[in-house]
Symmetry: C2
Subunit: 291 residues, 2 copies
């Protein structure tokens, strides 16, 4: 018996990384994106292009969602459920970063969809290199059945709980990640403003108790003021607002995150929204008034 | 020719760690503290007790200062300079965390004192284990002459610049360290408030791109609400104010550090000043209003 192809809805930066890793691991990939150029790109890297979600629902198992936001995840899941033949069931692996409460509701909505959250801690580049850390939430049996596919895209992963919990874990991890990035920016500006050499300071800081992984990932670029986007400031602001919404829902103040959101808003106002999120260092630099 | 003993002024937690490491490396230690109990303690761990700073000035080389603050460093250095015989010169290694500008001025004050800044990134416990990272600033020739002593107390160290620059480096490193600590606190509270298991979340966060060394040092204690002091909140607030003073002097705003200082102030108001600085997580927990 031939294995069905792995379905892929959404072929942006992350979807492409998934497709490349699946093809490299000898999985057939049947994908779709609303943009023709992205469909052509999938074909070029060795995937098959579906006519639409109906074909993916009928032929693929499991089906990975790598679309933009919660709305698109809901639309795609509803469309897949509606397109399935009677008595057919499919595993849907949702890699998009979403509102956790809406994902928990969506996971319970369709009897013919076994829904597993699969967001990642890491960039599409890290996923491509096999260094993305998969956060798995929801139906553990479905996740086990999809293990070969998950092995291909996330060699390291953690099952963190029910549907919604992977998104919650991702939001809390990204809260810390973003704050470590901004703390590094503030420390670098402080060091430079006191007259220290930034590169020498960063070297010492990386050897000290203040070490954070973001120093390796963003430190040199911040000093060189190289903001070629790996993750855009505008997107990071959107995520920060998602975190603040969640926090408001549970009645929790997050004072550092509020500062981070305000700094990102200032960057967007300055026209830096499309630049890398490490551009927050420029807003810290602007908060200087010479005597 | 017999080597002169290493001088040690101040036998608190850090001074004791220095004394233990020096004795273990077969250096004779001649030390003094204004508190008789600390002098007795030095004797118990294998050091010699001096009658006062005059004896240390006359007999010891180099002389390590491990006193509380800038005022005490200035007083001790002036006293040592005044007590030296004509034509004698001494190397003074200053391990206290101080105001960098006043240290730069002090280093130039006395013709018979060769002043080297030697603050550490790390706790007295880390120094004791040989894991303190020494930050060296000032007279490079004097630092080279004192290399055997520095080897004993700081196996890893960096010469970061002129006198004052080691203190500046320490302040900027500790700014990042303190903010990483508070970011971790905020992330843990956010995760718990959304219903995640704190220990499982911390485990995933440590494997993620959000990793910081403070997760290893303080994560478990924050979750267990164990605030036995390694570094006290009151002292960390004092250091944060020193950073804010420096920043004001160079006209730089530091928005995250301002939040950190306010959180530490709230902890001190709540009677938590003598607890470990990771108690900031309790203030974040208090910023919760149930719906």
């Amino acid at each position: 018996m031939q294995h069905p192809p792995v379905g892929l809805v959404g072929i942006g930066l992350m979807g492409e990384a998934f497709a490349r890793r699946l093809v490299a691991a000898d999985h057939a990939v049947l994908g779709y994106d609303v943009e023709p150029a992205k469909r052509a790109h999938l074909h070029a890297i060795g995937g098959q292009v579906a006519e639409g979600l109906t074909e993916i629902a009928r032929r693929a198992q499991p089906i990975i969602l790598a679309v933009f936001d919660t709305e698109q995840v809901e639309e795609a899941t509803d469309a897949l459920a509606a397109a399935l033949p009677p008595d057919a069931r499919r595993i849907v692996l949702c890699a998009s970063t979403c509102d956790p409460d809406r994902i928990a509701a969506l996971a319970a909505r369709h009897g013919n969809i076994r829904f597993v959250e699969t967001p990642v801690s890491g960039t599409s580049q890290q996923v491509l290199l096999g260094n993305g850390v998969g956060l798995i939430g929801g139906d553990a049996h479905a996740a086990a059945e999809a293990a070969l596919v998950l092995d291909a895209i996330y060699p390291t992963r953690f099952h963190v709980g029910a549907a919604g919990d992977a998104g919650r874990t991702k939001l809390a991890i990204n809260l810390i990640l973003g704050l470590n990035r901004l703390a590094l920016a503030e420390g670098l500006v402080f060091a430079e403003r006191m007259g220290l050499d930034g590169a020498a300071f960063l070297d010492v800081a990386r050897r000290s108790a203040a070490y954070s992984q973001i120093m390796d990932v963003k430190g040199d670029a911040m000093l060189a003021r190289d903001f070629a986007p790996k993750g855009r400031a505008r997107q990071t602001l959107k995520d920060a607002r998602l975190m603040l919404d969640q926090a408001a829902r549970v009645g929790q103040q997050l004072p550092l995150l509020e500062v981070h959101a305000a700094i990102l808003e200032a960057c967007v106002r300055e026209g830096e929204g499309e630049l890398d999120n490490s551009v927050v260092i420029e807003e810290i630099r602007r908060r200087h008034r010479r005597a």
